[in-house]
């Protein structure tokens, strides 16, 4: 985005006309100097900017921590409904306060109203779920749109009828980070502290309810109360984030950091830590960037920053990332294909006692049977040679000692599985677990002995009995 802005600025340099009318396509950003960037990032760019950056960083941290439990409890979308449902509360609070002669724009009053209708929205979802047969998606969709619609109607009524003092209310939709005061930043700090403290105290209870609420209830835990505490923290973060990033985007701060963090870890407490870091980093970078580029609203830049972190996590995370997954799938494909090739060569050895050789013609037939492409065949041969399973012998491929042992193992496994399916055809499909490579891991010792006896009766010589293929 920055690059694009810079390119636009350069492109428009020569023909720049001061008197040209300002149009959408003509807006350019001043590209900040390195000194300015450094100052902003090290929190030395003036009191106001620093306040905003610290405040949004703390907000991102709190949202990251709390968002983990919303994600694990599968409540991510409900937080979206919650944030949309705050809008009518803001308008109604303004009207009520003005009618009572209080300043309608006082932040505590507006946030109180936001909390009331936000919680009301969540209660409505629960009521719809309990009283009707509608699914959660439908309930959330209804509540989200109806409450948001009511909010827009209230705001336009205020704009048409109330005094000019109402102008600031629209900022709650998109957020107005630059307006953050020291008190607001302190509030974010307090909420972040509360979120961390609650997590430290109740990590055990939260995880139990998120993982298996029915078990928790039978075990005697007050599941509704624990849920309420988690939801209250979500409400707290949402309402606190309204002013900074706006109700449309605050939910992204709750969802995106935990989802990104999930790619990097399998441990719960680490997930909380990583989500907190990603949230804080997004808040910090996002607000700093928006401070440097005045026309970029902080809320969307913060969300875009966490979006970038998400894409990086999605692609590059070890074990869960797309790259790692594809790599594992490819390796698995090669292992299975290698098993097939080695087994075929080993069967040759069993028939002809030639140590397990495959001619080019035999290999081509095998490739056709298994659907291996030409490049796959080349790669497979290269890999099996590197693993020391096969060696070149003239124009043919021959199994090494190591390869014959592998072939024996594979042949035995396949024979046992086959016998198992034959013997226990009625119950086998639900019991066979193909994902394990050793039958012993799944079938009991006596059962394997029984299968081996059955195989011998059928005249199938079990490969393991041949050992390394020296028989």
């Amino acid at each position: 985005m920055l690059f694009f802005a810079m390119a636009m600025a350069i492109a428009q340099q020569p023909g720049r006309d001061v008197h040209a009318p300002i149009s959408i396509t003509n807006v350019t950003d001043e590209w900040p100097g390195w000194a300015q960037v450094f100052e902003t990032l090290t929190l030395r760019a003036g009191f106001n900017t620093t306040t905003v950056i610290v405040g949004t960083t703390l907000l991102g941290l709190a949202a990251g921590v709390i968002g983990v439990f919303a994600l694990l409890r599968k409540r991510s979308l409900m937080t979206d409904a919650l944030s949309h449902a705050t809008l009518p509360g803001i308008g109604l609070a303004f009207l009520a306060a003005t009618a009572l002669g209080v300043d309608g724009r006082s932040l505590p009053v507006l946030l109180l109203g936001a909390t009331v209708t936000g919680v009301l929205g969540v209660v409505c979802i629960q009521a719809i779920l309990r009283l009707t047969r509608l699914g959660e998606d439908a309930a959330i969709g209804i509540v989200l749109s109806v409450f948001f619609g009511a909010g827009i109607v209230t705001l336009s009524y205020i704009q048409a009828n109330a005094a000019a003092g109402a102008a600031g209310l629209n900022h709650f939709i998109y957020g107005q980070t630059a307006a953050m005061s020291v008190r607001d930043a302190a509030l974010m700090g307090g909420i972040a502290a509360a979120a961390i403290l609650a997590t430290l105290l109740f990590l055990k209870e939260f995880s139990l309810v998120c993982f298996n609420d029915a078990f928790a209830r039978v075990d005697g835990w007050p599941v509704s109360l624990i849920d309420l505490v988690m939801m209250a923290l979500v409400v707290l973060v949402t309402v606190a984030g309204l002013q900074a990033v706006g109700l449309l985007l605050v939910v992204a701060m709750l969802i995106v950091p935990p989802v990104s963090a999930r790619f990097w870890t399998e441990r719960l407490w680490l997930l909380v830590v990583v989500a907190a870091l990603i949230g804080a980093l997004s808040g910090y970078l996002g607000s700093a960037v928006s401070a440097l580029l005045p026309r970029k609203p902080a809320g969307s830049v913060i969300v875009l920053t966490s979006g970038v972190v998400f894409v990086i996590s999605l692609v590059f995370a070890p074990t869960r990332g797309v790259v790692a997954l594809s790599w594992r799938r490819l390796r698995m494909r090669f292992r299975i294909a290698g098993d097939h090739l080695v087994e075929a060569a080993f069967e040759q050895h069993g028939r002809e006692g030639n140590g397990g050789t495959l001619t080019e013609a035999q290999l081509a037939r095998l490739a056709k049977l298994r659907g291996w492409s030409a490049w796959f065949r080349v790669a497979l041969r290269w890999m099996l040679r590197r693993q020391g399973d096969i060696e070149r012998a003239g124009t043919t491929l021959r199994l090494t000692e190591h390869g014959r042992a592998r072939g024996a193992r594979v042949a035995r496994n396949h024979a046992l599985w086959e016998q198992y399916l034959v013997t226990y055809a009625d119950i086998a499909p639900s019991h066979v677990d193909w994902s394990v490579d050793q039958v012993e891991h799944v079938l009991s010792e006596p059962l394997i002995a029984e299968l081996e006896r059955a195989l011998r009766r059928r005249g199938v010589v079990i490969a393991a009995a041949i050992g390394g293929g020296n028989a």
Partner: protein
């Protein structure tokens, strides 16, 4: 326990135990229990007294209300009417002596915890609020994993376990609860042979140490081999009692209606069991 609650407990104990058909020694007494979903009854007027120290199977066709029976006893689904008591006590009072294995599909196994973490959840009520899992409880949880043959997998993330291994983790968590009465919802569903064996071993182990286990079971063939007592259920209790007395062709016919394939399997199982005894 204050005097008031003791008074309360004795009065509730009196309600069912005073009836001639229920005894306070029974780990589970169900009286006239009816359960309805959206006004449609799924369980109708269930009366049952579980014998102590037995392995009890709940058997019946799909939609017979097997899981619902367990959930209604545990208060997970509301009862339209009726009472449930454990050793003559209310569920709330007896809770610390009750263990539970939910259906495996009821949770998201892509949860960021290890097998050991899940088993530790069985110790949470002994650990109490806000306190971390101590080494002593971790050791106890490890021992439970060992009993189901899963000690080597203690630190695996749970989504990396096979279905049968996940089932064994759930069983280990229930063992970690150190209960006297266990409810297990379909523990044998879709598990591999090694897991089936491990579960059966644990069940017999539990019986030897004086526990009572109520199991929702779907495989008629294994009922005579695995269980002592059986509840034949099809929205109401068709028959309940010792397997050799109740698990008959006639009763199965009443429970399953005209599903012949199932019945012929069961007939074989009965014949096999009779041969085994003879």
């Amino acid at each position: 326990m204050t005097a008031a609650t003791r008074q309360a407990s004795t009065t509730t104990a009196a309600t069912l135990a005073a009836r001639p058909e229920h005894s306070p020694e029974s780990p589970l007494s169900i009286h006239a229990m009816t359960v309805a979903y959206h006004r449609k009854p799924v369980l109708w007027d269930v009366d049952y007294d579980a014998p102590s120290n037995q392995l009890i199977a709940i058997v019946g066709p799909n939609g017979a209300g097997k899981s619902t029976l367990i959930k209604a006893c545990l208060g997970l689904v509301p009862r339209a009417s009726g009472q449930v008591e454990f050793w003559g006590l209310s569920y709330r009072q007896a809770r610390s002596r009750i263990g539970y294995v939910p259906q495996r599909e009821s949770v998201d196994w892509d949860f960021p915890v290890s097998a050991l973490d899940v088993v530790c959840m069985g110790r949470y009520r002994m650990i109490g609020w806000c306190r971390p899992v101590s080494r002593r409880h971790r050791q106890a949880a490890l021992a439970c994993l060992d009993r189901v043959g899963m000690r080597d997998y203690a630190h695996r993330q749970i989504s990396q376990l096979s279905g049968g291994q996940q089932q064994r983790v759930f069983l280990a968590r229930a063992l970690a609860q150190e209960a006297d009465l266990y409810f297990m919802d379909e523990p044998f569903a879709g598990v591999d042979a090694a897991t089936e064996r491990a579960i059966v071993d644990v069940l017999r182990d539990l019986r030897e140490t004086g526990k009572t286990v109520v199991v929702v079971h779907h495989d008629l063939q294994t009922v005579p081999e695995y269980f002592d007592h059986v509840i034949l259920l099809n929205m109401r209790v068709v028959a309940a009692g010792p397997v050799e007395a109740v698990f008959t062709n006639d009763n199965l016919h009443k429970t399953y209606g005209g599903r012949l394939t199932l019945l012929s399997e069961a007939a074989e199982a009965i014949a096999r069991a009779a041969k085994g005894e003879g």
